[in-house]
């Protein structure tokens, strides 16, 4: 994930000032819908030729299975962390106001409206998967994690996603509001699904690979 553009970047500062409030239920519903879209695409990947899923699009670039495993590595941290934070007894509120850092992370990671990745980043060492992975268990884990996230989002509907906080992977001293943790985690997944779609197009040499229906 990290290596973020500097705060001095004018457009970002501007973006940051426009922090929007969300209806908590509607936000959680939207995030669930976003995950379900990824589950659909991942199910379609299951029927792709394993050779295609494991082919490097270019030297130094990840294959599709590596991208998924990269996402799994975050799931392995965040799913238990979110589970734990949801044990807190803080009842739901109608509105959710993103935190400063959480909103910044989410906006950094979110694909643009056109469905392109805005800023390139480099993954931290512990989140760089080996190119020699077995596609089946990686896809299986990915799908299981998405079902777990859907459940956690459901549970979160009864909790205060602005008051409950979860520590992030970069530093356990930085805690994000639970609503933001979900937002940036899912934005991160969406970002990498654009990468997957580009990678598929490259290895299949089709120019475009539509993962949508």
């Amino acid at each position: 994930m990290p290596r973020f553009p500097s705060f001095r970047n004018g457009r970002f500062v501007l973006n940051l000032l426009q922090m929007k409030k969300y209806n908590s239920q509607a936000l959680l519903e939207q995030l669930q819908a976003d995950i379900r879209q990824l589950v659909l695409i991942a199910n379609k990947l299951k029927s792709e030729d394993p050779g295609v899923l494991l082919e490097q699009p270019a030297p130094g670039k990840w294959n599709v299975v590596q991208v998924l495993e990269h996402l799994n590595s975050y799931g392995r941290y965040y799913i238990p962390a979110i589970e734990k934070s949801l044990q807190e007894i803080k009842p739901a509120t109608e509105m959710f106001k993103p935190g400063f850092i959480g909103d910044y992370f989410t906006k950094m990671l979110s694909p643009s409206e056109k469905g392109t990745v805005k800023y390139k980043m480099k993954a931290p060492k512990d989140h760089r998967p080996s190119p020699h992975l077995d596609h089946q268990p990686v896809l299986k884990t990915f799908l299981e994690q998405q079902q777990a996230l859907l459940e956690l989002l459901e549970k979160a509907k009864t909790k205060n996603i602005g008051r409950i906080r979860t520590p992030i992977t970069l530093s356990r001293f930085i805690k994000l509001k639970l609503g933001d943790t979900f937002r940036f985690l899912i934005a991160h997944e969406q970002r990498h699904f654009i990468q997957i779609s580009n990678t598929m197009a490259q290895v299949k040499k089709t120019g475009t690979f539509s993962l949508a229906l």
Partner: protein, 194 residues
């Protein structure tokens, strides 16, 4: 007509429910809307909701591991929607539920339906009657899929639900009938509806 009255009408036409039972049953619904192409339920997820469709069309579909996708059911107003088997058994769905157009629903949860069924024998009976008719429809469809020619399937569909042709992309209708999309468009050009 108010949304809830559409539901009231639908229920009372299908089953003679009245009084306290009917009021209790109408009490558990919340409005819900979604954009087109929204996945409402995924394979692997347990169906939490029963929807009553006020506007829009949805499809239930299956994705196999061999690039095969099959549309198994369409749902539209005024009728219930959701992945029925997963909802009733509360086990993970094998199917996806997706909106084909923007949709408006009333929806309720399994928990609420289950509670009402525990309290009111009449509601339990109503659920049984409704699911029995679904079963009847499914067995009839099974026969059509296995015994009918492509042309017969096409004619039966158009006879039963002619409006689907305008509502639903033809590739999904072809998949629903288990016929080739090319065959479907040929039939569309040649079959005369009487």
């Amino acid at each position: 007509m108010a949304d809830i009255d559409q539901l009231r009408q639908f229920i009372t036409t299908a089953f003679a429910l009245k009084g306290e039972e009917l009021e209790q049953l109408l009490n558990i619904w919340q409005p819900f809307e979604c954009k087109r192409k929204t996945i409402l339920t995924t394979a692997g997820e347990t169906e939490r909701y029963l929807y009553f469709v006020l506007e829009g069309v949805q499809r239930g579909f299956y994705i196999g591991d061999d690039k095969k996708e099959a549309t198994i059911v369409f749902m539209y107003a005024p009728s219930f929607s959701g992945i029925a088997d997963s909802f009733l058994t509360q086990t993970p769905s094998n199917y996806f539920l997706e909106s084909l157009t923007s949709c408006r629903f009333l929806r309720t949860t399994w928990k609420q339906i289950d509670e009402l069924m525990g309290h009111y024998p009449e509601i339990r009976k109503m659920v049984l009657v409704l699911t029995s008719f679904i079963l009847k429809g499914l067995l009839q469809r099974q026969v059509e899929l296995q015994c009918f020619s492509a042309e017969e399937k096409f004619k039966t569909l158009l006879h039963r639900s002619p409006h689907l042709l305008q509502l639903i992309p033809h590739k999904y209708l072809a998949s629903y009938l288990g016929i080739d999309p090319a065959t479907f468009s040929k039939l569309l050009g040649s079959v005369r509806l009487s």
